[in-house]
Amino acid sequence: MVSKSPTNPLVMVAQALFYGLFAVIIGYFSTSPDYHHLDPDTALIKLSFSTQAEPAGECRERTPEELAKLAPNMRAAKTCPRERSPIRVSIDLDGKHLFEGVAPPSGLSKDGPSTLYRRFEVPAGEHTLSVKMNDNVRIADFNHVREEKMTLKPAQILVIDLRKDRGGIFFE
């Protein structure tokens, strides 16, 4: 057993060794091993939207009797249902089905925005991307459609969004 004196060379060497080991453990796992998040030859398609869909029912004119029952400052001629439509989504890539789903309206009264977030890893290269959405239950078919040929670079991120102020479906 060595002397515990801090000036004992053996003790100093042993301390240096353990401090060194401590440093190696901290330093190594601080950056290593590498994490291969995605294949370098892939691209990422992100479907992400958060938008309010069309009302779930038709607006209608209030009758004179209904208007009379309302306070004078509340007598709007037209009334619309509060509930919003769910948003249906269908995505095809190169003619093959990639995703199909529904984003229901949020909120207890189902009057909030519908949100959806999905990510798809696809091979980089030329693709035909077809995105269809319906945000109005009163329309049977998809009322937002966009199809585009594109070249996705390796490690590129393509975002599919639904923004009515920007013309509906758009790719970014």
Partner: protein
């Protein structure tokens, strides 16, 4: 675990043994991270376009100051996670999560979350590809919970982020560590004389280690965050960011399940069946003179002082049962615990019902009176340390205490005056005491550095202290053999204390 700690004692000494001071080391890493963080905050430009460039500037152009400070900040934060996890493991292996320790264990759980929240936010601030990856992965994780009206991931779409985001990040990266400090303050509330700063040699050694690491492997950033591209390979910090690969290997819901289950497991551990704690200390008002020694020595702040109901101007100790560890260190601190008091039934100011000082005196008198042999030795041992009861023989009487800190120093002199030729006091190694200060206080009391102290007239050559953990029984036996030989050489010298209580020896003999 004790073997590892004993091994490190030989190299670092008990006072600077990192294994015995993982909590203090954790605090130390936090202090370093906070101090270096102040400088980094001053030089950081929080604009969305400028933040990465400002960090790159002080990493590369000002490497001799900013670069080193950044590396110290990063490695101290990593070290904090490492020692925190070891601290949890050590306390778990020692079973220190139930009984009176439930509070420290439970309050430690939120600090885990706060450490990770502090560290992960720091990676976002760098705003490189790694920071972006971490931010998106964290947002995807939180989006699994139905708490956001708009998904948090939408913040990281092109054109959405503004400078304000980084102002918020800086606020969080300062605010959460401050919350962490508050949580740590709560965490150590039930221990007195908290170990929040390591011994100087350990502190200097650790700082030197971090400096060498900062120079040998400076912290650098990935490329600037680009919301239109991802980085296929990332040099991630596994101490903090392992949760992201774990999430992508499972799912956001899976990661919540893992994190929730681990948190729940830690929280319910104190509720699981465990050995029942012994009775707590009891104060006897007529024998308490309000000297405050028990109040000062209690390792868990379980004793407070109140005005004495019967003695105006005096104080009276009060034990808080929910805080008491049942260690008996208070009984060892009480000046009324002296066995020289002439009363037949020795009652002290504060005592342990399961091992009263009066019973200890009676046991000692009986055992010493029964000793036969050339030299007679009294051994005061500790239930938590090496099994001293195995030393008992015809010439050796063993008194096993709940904690060596329960030993009133006057018992040593009483044993010598009662017929013992020498006294061996043993217990856990320094830093290994199950009740934190049992070994330290006992050593200081017997060496005259702490009240109540052993009288200087007691010959030092007839007293031996030897600290041995459970696995060091052979060492303790060797110490006893050596002590026995030493006492044989002393013989009946002049300095030996003369018999003080012949009545009792006759009574038991």
């Amino acid at each position: 675990m004790q073997r590892i700690e004993s091994f490190f004692d030989e190299i670092f000494g008990a006072a600077a043994n990192p294994w015995r001071h993982l909590g203090a080391l954790g605090f130390y890493f936090l202090w370093i991270a906070l101090a270096t963080g102040i400088y980094l905050f001053i030089v950081l430009d929080t604009g969305i376009e400028e933040i990465h460039a400002s960090i790159e500037y002080y990493t590369h152009e000002q490497w001799w100051l900013g670069g080193i400070v950044r590396s110290l900040h990063r490695y101290a934060a990593d070290g904090l996670v490492l020692v925190m996890l070891l601290h949890i493991l050590r306390e778990f292996l020692y079973g220190r999560f139930h009984g009176f320790r439930w509070y420290s264990w439970i309050t430690g759980v939120p600090t885990l979350w706060l450490v990770y929240a502090s560290g992960i936010g720091g990676y976002w601030l760098v705003w490189d590809q790694l920071g972006l990856f971490s931010a998106i992965a964290s947002a995807e994780w939180f989006d699994w919970l139905p708490i956001f009206n708009t998904p948090a991931t939408r913040n990281f779409l092109p054109g959405v982020l503004t400078d304000r985001f980084f102002t918020l990040l800086v606020f969080l990266h300062i605010g959460i560590p401050l919350l962490l400090l508050l949580a740590l303050w709560v965490h150590i509330q039930r221990v007195s004389q908290s170990d929040v700063f390591p011994a100087r040699s350990l502190a200097l050694g650790t700082l030197a280690m971090l400096l060498v690491l900062a120079l040998a492997k400076p912290t650098v950033s990935h490329g600037k965050a680009d919301l239109t591209m991802f980085s296929p390979v990332l040099h991630i910090d596994w101490y903090y960011l392992f949760i992201h690969p774990l999430m992508y290997a499972t799912s956001p819901g899976g990661l919540w399940a893992i994190a929730g289950a681990l948190t729940l497991l830690l929280l319910i551990l104190p509720l699981l069946p465990h050995p029942r704690q012994g009775p707590v200390a009891v104060v006897d008002p007529p024998n308490c003179n309000g000297c405050r020694r028990c109040f000062v020595d209690c390792p868990y702040g379980a004793i407070t002082m109140l005005p004495h109901p019967d003695k105006p101007g005096h104080e009276l100790a009060r034990v808080h049962p929910e805080l008491c560890a049942s260690c008996g260190i208070c009984a060892g601190a009480c000046p009324s615990s002296t066995p020289f008091r002439s009363m037949d039934k020795l009652v002290t100011g504060i005592d342990m019902p399961q091992q009263p000082v009066g019973a200890l005196r009676a046991e000692m008198e009986r055992k010493i009176a029964a000793l036969r042999g050339q030299v007679k030795i009294a051994v005061f041992g500790c239930e938590c340390a090496a099994a001293s009861s195995r030393l008992e023989s015809g010439d050796t009487a063993v008194l096993n205490l709940m904690c060596s800190g329960l030993l009133p120093p006057s018992f040593v002199e009483y044993a010598l005056r009662g017929g013992a030729d020498g006294v061996l006091v043993t217990g856990c190694r320094e830093g290994s005491c199950a009740y934190r200060f049992g070994t330290r206080w006992t050593e200081e009391r017997l060496n005259g550095r702490r009240e109540p102290h052993l009288r200087p007239s007691v010959p030092a050559e007839r007293l031996r202290l030897d600290w041995a953990d459970r696995h060091e029984m052979s060492h303790l036996k060797a110490t006893l053999d050596d002590f026995r030989q030493h006492l044989q050489t002393l013989g009946a010298d002049e300095k030996r204390p003369r018999a003080y209580t012949p009545r009792r020896i006759v009574q038991h003999g």
